[in-house]
């Protein structure tokens, strides 16, 4: 039983990536239509919620300590994404390397005189009791 999570078929990961891209493009396409009347297409929902809250009586009583300008804000978000993906890719890469090293060590041990730690399905020659 091969699960999507563990499947080794080559097409699974690209298919998942393609699904994400497809949804993204669909949103872009449909959204452009939906937003064709607005001044700024794809305004954030966070901002829309703040506006709605202010209309309902919110009076901001505290300002953010640091408010970056528009372009700087994009840059900082990009940095956040970069740090996040950097850490993630480093961690996954490191763990993959560890795995590889462990596998390599196991196979070398196999060809050596050591006991087989990965006794496959018991169809190896095991000593009779």
């Amino acid at each position: 039983m091969s699960d999507v999570l563990t499947s080794n078929r080559k097409w699974v990961t690209p298919a998942l990536v393609a699904a994400v891209v497809a949804i993204f493009l669909a949103c872009l396409f449909i959204g452009t239509h939906a937003a064709s009347g607005e001044e700024e297409a794809f305004g954030g929902t966070d901002g829309a919620a703040t506006t709605a809250a202010e209309e309902a009586g919110a009076e901001p009583w505290f300002k953010p300590l640091f408010e970056p300008a528009g372009e700087v804000e994009s840059g900082l978000f990009a940095m956040q994404a970069a740090i996040g993906s950097g850490v993630m890719c480093f961690a996954i890469g490191w763990m993959a390397g560890n795995r590889r090293g462990a596998k390599h060590a196991t196979t070398t041990a196999d060809t050596g005189a050591g006991p087989d730690p990965t006794n496959e399905a018991g169809n190896e020659q095991t000593p009779v009791d």
């Binding site: 039983m1 699960d3 999507v4 999570l5 563990t6 990961t13 998942l16 990536v17 699904a19 994400v20 949804i23 993204f24 949103c27 872009l28 449909i30 959204g31 452009t32 939906a34 937003a35 064709s36 607005e38 794809f42 305004g43 954030g44 929902t45 966070d46 829309a48 919620a49 703040t50 709605a52 809250a53 309902a56 919110a58 901001p60 009583w61 505290f62 300002k63 953010p64 640091f66 970056p68 804000e73 900082l76 978000f77 990009a78 956040q80 994404a81 740090i83 996040g84 993906s85 850490v87 993630m88 961690a91 996954i92 763990m95 993959a96 560890n98 795995r99 596998k103 990965t118 496959e120």
Partner: protein, 228 residues
């Protein structure tokens, strides 16, 4: 979703801080405990936190013509259980509030409650439920990510409705109003997040099988183990 700085009345800010604090403190203790007891899981912990850090920074366009952020908290909730995400999610929120004016320090308690506490718990519940009824692990992960995301925004809508009830239709009406801003927009993002979660787990199952195993996760990795 992040409620912007200074939007919630001071008393409610304090109330949400009080509500979130125990969870975040507990979460911090869990993180320290995890790092102490199982140092081999540090990289996995970093991955879970970084995933949230990454996803919550990206603004994605949606079908309604607006854009929003995914949350990414589901993954960490599944691997390390929700309390850990209470702490890590709050760290992300602090970063965004201080450096990006996204969310706020006054609204940190409220935002932590929605994104770092309720989101992960709801996602975790969906994960456990799906696994319990014998569903495939990819579906469990998918639903976890989707509903962690959606529930975060639902809670935010309720928080805003509690603060600003509609004069005629009361809190329910206000909640419906705020939900209407988020609900449809968030669905495609949540689905994207679901697929990204599956992708992440595909990698983790391959490279972190022993760690996931030691954490008691059974994502079909037992089979992988046997075929090493």
């Amino acid at each position: 979703m992040h409620i912007a700085e200074g939007i919630l009345p001071p008393i409610q800010c304090a109330a949400w801080y009080a509500a979130s604090a125990p969870f975040v403190v507990h979460g911090a203790r869990q993180v320290i405990k995890e790092v102490k007891e199982r140092p081999e899981n540090r990289l996995l912990l970093a991955t879970a936190g970084a995933f949230t850090f990454l996803l919550s920074s990206i603004k994605l366009p949606s079908v309604t013509g607006s854009s929003s952020h995914p949350t990414g908290t589901g993954a960490g909730a599944v691997i390390f259980k929700p309390p850990v995400m209470a702490f890590m999610g709050t760290v992300v929120l602090i970063f965004q509030a201080l450096l990006l004016a996204h969310g706020g320090i006054t609204t940190l308690g409220a935002n932590a409650f929605s994104m770092a506490i309720v989101g992960p718990w709801v996602g975790y519940a969906f994960y456990k439920l799906t696994m319990k009824v014998g569903g495939p692990s990819w579906l469990a992960v998918f639903l976890c990510m989707v509903f962690a995301d959606l529930s975060t925004y639902c809670v935010t809508s309720i928080q805003l409705a509690l603060a600003f009830p509609d004069p005629s239709s009361g809190m329910a009406g206000a909640a419906a109003k705020f939900l209407s801003i988020f609900a449809v927009s968030q669905v495609p993002l949540a689905i994207m997040e679901g697929f990204l979660g599956i992708l992440l787990f595909r990698f983790l199952v391959k490279v972190a099988a022993p760690q996931l195993d030691s954490l008691g996760l059974d994502l079909g990795i037992a089979k992988e183990h046997a075929h090493v």
